[in-house]
Amino acid sequence: MSDHTEHLEELREIVAEVLELEPEEVADAGDFVDEYDADSLRAIEILARIEKKYKVDIPQSELNDMRSLKAVYTVVARYAGWRD
């Protein structure tokens, strides 16, 4: 598995766990709020788990953008320095 796929699948698992879904239910572009009924506290929980797992600091200003798995990946990749 490439780093890209591996990171994406790890993030999918985190998102699925917080949103209480199965990983396969989380589509890459699925909007957390519109499609999965997430609220702002869940977004914060997703951010907190990512920060803990990858030991990165992500500014809270990024929270508004982190509304889909794909968007989360893009933000995390930038702060974690992933070059996938």
Partner: protein, 295 residues
Amino acid sequence: MSTATPLRAIDSAEVSEGTVRAVKKVAADDPYMPGHFPELTVYPGVFTLESVQQAVAEAVGPVRLARLRSARFLAPLLAGDSLVVEAAIERADDGLEVRARCADGTGRTTAKVSARYEQGSRAATDVGARLDRHRPRSGELRLDHDAIRAVLPHRHPMILLDRIEHAAPGERLEAVKAVSGCEPCYQGDQPGSEYPASLLLESFGQAAAVLWLLGATESGLPMFTAARDVVFERPVLPGDVVRHLVRLDQVVDGAAFASGESFVGADRVAVVTSMMAVVRPALTLTNGNGRNHHE
């Protein structure tokens, strides 16, 4: 040995095949409620857990909370509000897996709970040697009961901490809670000597709140918003001295995440994988917008 109950957390219940629906009206004069809080009655998140447990007990008989897989508290319930619990109960191995949705009188979801319960009795903890694993280090704080009350808005009888030892503000602390047969959950002739899991979790949460608030600039009422994977390993009984070892893992955008373990003597009684809380000004809870406080 069965579990004590902090309050009657359901007023009525309807049981059907594999499900139970129960209703509770939040009352300011219920046991423990005068202390949560003196100025504004908020039904504690842990009492929602208590409502779910008592609803399940209506369907299957007495149960104990073995593992809280996930709890989310989405909106606060104030005095006069109704809580409607709808729980689906499935038998699994030798326990019960329960998924519950809680709503207020208008149908708005206030909490979601997923938990494992057990039936039958469990051996009590042997009170072993007292823990001496955390020797005081320099720079650590010790808080007596006065100091705890200065930090927390909770009051008697809902202040479920006696002393804080070895606090490194914003980082970790050790909190002491002595369980006594004098507590309201043991009043009357109701059976049960095990300390309620809901109150044990509340006590842990209060320790986490002290840890957070000691190092924080936020002010207001700390609200328990979510828990993930809390395992209750051993019963806690009157006479036990519980020590919560709490770590503050993260504070993100005004939300705090804590984890830790609780011990009686050398025996671990509970493990908290993650607990989440926010601080809300009391005012925002009472106006219309605040009802959906997480938005």
